[in-house]
Point group: C2
Chain length 404, copies 2
């Protein structure tokens, strides 16, 4: 049996509900009598290497509940990606602290970290139970119906586009909203849930699952603008040309890469500005604006899906249950069992680690610039309750007197 101390950490980009999972682990672990202490590592695996631990056992349940409702990683995060040597350092620390259970809350990269740590532990014959707890606004983990963090980010994107559409209707022009998502378009596609009336935007949605062709884009915008006198566009930061080269990267003078070899796509407005410039000059439209949603979509305080909160809490709780009552390492996955209901299961780490889910074809229309009703049915229950709604004045025109 693994030693009676557990360690939990958070990796990768924060979400609005990642602390729900942290608190799910901390509170559920208290139910098990043989668990002595619950440690939290500051800033992910980096905090393990540095022995930068806090004692979550000394937290009040009241404060844990308040932290659970606070966005972004309360323990801090990291972009470090452990290799074998890094993992060796992790083991030395885990052994020294007599830690028997390791829970890592994160996305693709973090699940791969858990896989490496799990394999290294087995190779070193160290009795460690490791469980990956899913989290990513990109919704790109293989094997899950969806991932905690995505629903709240999707709610933000849907509401942002609902507002941007109303703004654009009041002062017509072209509006480009750039949404996060390197390879998976789920979050960009969520913009469609901000649409209510047939002539509402987003009128066009560009996803990384489809090749982006600038000429086709301009033709789409022109046709929409001619039809509605305005055009609202949702664009994924990950759109790319036929060779897979990101459109955003065509602009950046110096491309910034993180430790995982990813190009930095977020944190600047270059893509939106380029597309605006193209529309202004090629289509001769005057009022063209872009917003890059940036970090707001993952950590805005006060825009959270209650469904997401509940599920993020549950994946943390389930991780502890799987670890205590199961006999294998794994990754917690959400399975949809009804409209709307879910259950959880533990997938082998190799099923999830380092793999990327993208939007299924059934979710994208043939035109490639809109989502299907199947996607709307998939996403709507995740957005949670109390979704704000937009209403219009009804059409009661007054007859002209002078210009009749």
């Amino acid at each position: 049996m693994a030693p009676g101390k557990i360690l939990v950490a958070q990796g990768g980009g924060p979400t609005a509900v990642i602390n729900q999972s942290l608190v799910g682990v901390a509170l559920e672990a208290r139910r098990f009598g043989h668990i002595g202490h619950i440690y939290g590592a500051r800033h992910g695996v980096r905090g393990i290497i540095d022995e930068n631990f806090v004692d979550l056992t000394q937290e009040t349940s009241h404060n844990l509940e308040l932290v659970a409702n606070t966005p972004s990683s309360a323990l801090g995060s990291t972009r470090d990606k452990p290799d074998a040597a890094y993992c060796h350092e992790i083991f030395k620390v885990l052994q020294a602290h007599k830690i028997g259970h390791f829970f890592y809350i994160g996305g693709n990269d973090s699940s791969d970290t858990v896989r490496i740590v799990s394999e290294e532990a087995q190779a070193a014959n160290y009795p460690l139970r490791t469980v990956h707890i899913p989290k990513t606004i990109d919704n790109d983990l293989v094997g899950s119906d969806h991932t905690p963090g995505f629903p709240s980010a999707a709610r933000f994107v849907a509401l942002a586009f609902a507002g941007a559409n109303l703004d654009n209707a009041a002062l017509p022009g072209v509006y480009v909203g750039v949404v996060m998502g390197r390879h998976a378009g789920f979050l960009t596609a969520a913009s469609a849930l901000g649409k209510k009336f047939p002539d509402d935007g987003p009128h066009l949605i560009y996803l990384p699952e489809r090749t982006f062709v600038l000429e086709k884009f301009l033709a789409d915008v022109k046709a929409t603008y001619e039809r509605y006198g305005r055009c609202v566009i949702a664009v994924s930061e990950g759109i790319h040309d036929a060779s897979g080269r990101p459109i955003a990267a065509l602009l950046a003078k110096e491309m910034e890469h993180d430790a995982h070899g990813n190009v930095q796509l977020s944190g600047n407005g270059a893509l939106g500005d380029l597309l605006c410039q193209e529309i202004k000059t090629k289509l001769n439209i005057k009022r063209v604006r872009s917003d890059t949603f940036g970090y707001m979509q993952r950590s805005f305080i006060g825009c959270v899906s209650d469904v997401d909160q509940r599920e993020a809490r549950e994946v943390g709780e389930k991780a502890v249950q799987f670890a205590m009552w199961g006999d294998r390492d794994g990754s917690v996955a959400i399975k949809r069992t009804g409209f709307y209901s879910v259950d959880y299961e533990l997938l082998p780490l190799s099923t999830v680690a380092g793999k990327t889910r993208t939007m299924e074809d059934e979710f994208i229309t043939e035109s490639g610039t809109d989502v299907t009703d199947a996607f709307r049915m998939y996403l709507r229950p995740l957005l949670g309750s109390k979704m704000p709604d937009a209403f219009r004045l009804r059409h009661n025109p007054i007859a002209k007197v002078l210009h009749c």
Copy 2:
């Protein structure tokens, strides 16, 4: 006595509560028996010229209430600024439709429009009662404690920075958030209300009320980064050099101007990207990100101050009451009468029209990069109830074993 038909229109940039004022006019006017019809002009004064009117009398009160809670101008807006000839066209239409009361909901530019229309009406001896109803997220109208629309936008900015600060604490680096506000820094200053703990961001706030010096900015960022290991910065889109030239304008290849002669500052990410580039290259900091809040801050659906909603409704109601029971044209102003309570008065149009309020010196610290407690006391009640709050894990460090 003025003829018994009223006309209401909305001008300038939309806000989250501008329809509250519209509905305040429509519902209050129903109480006056001699009012025959309530017309709404589509897209501001442009809709008057075009005789593009809708009949608000034929709306149900239920639908009006739903529209009141919907952000952005339900009638549509315009950036047109009427000159004498334009106003002559307006009169022709008003006369033809027997309109006796004109209510225009808008900011500085719109108040100037109302002033011109009012003066033209008097010169033409046409019996028109005109009232300007205040609205602007910039909070830059002279004579008001604050303006409807500003509190909800301020709430968005405060919450966005609260989230950005949490995100930045989890993955430390430099974060630059660019906020709307051409001449007045109120909205940028609202970022300070997202701060809870002493080491929280925004650590630095740059307002258009103070000259922006790039070298000073870089020194501030460097000092903050060295102190906290991170830095969250709020920057107004309107920051300018000593000669008054906008920093944003130094970048734009082709500067876009609207009908009022204003340079386009919003709708692109250029300012944030420039500042990030400077920080990266001059301070050699790797993780530097910027978000430009853009249109979200004025029309995000689901982030509204209930105080703002109530007051925006009341300025509409009061405008009708002033028009019906008073004997002069004017602009409705909010006066603070308690902590927190307000009353309304009708200011002469000449007091408000075309003038710009900027942040009072008492609201800005001597350093020029933070706000005073006086500002916090001024703004806090406007943000409304149910402000989401951020909580932290308490400090319970575990002793190191290996690295002790």
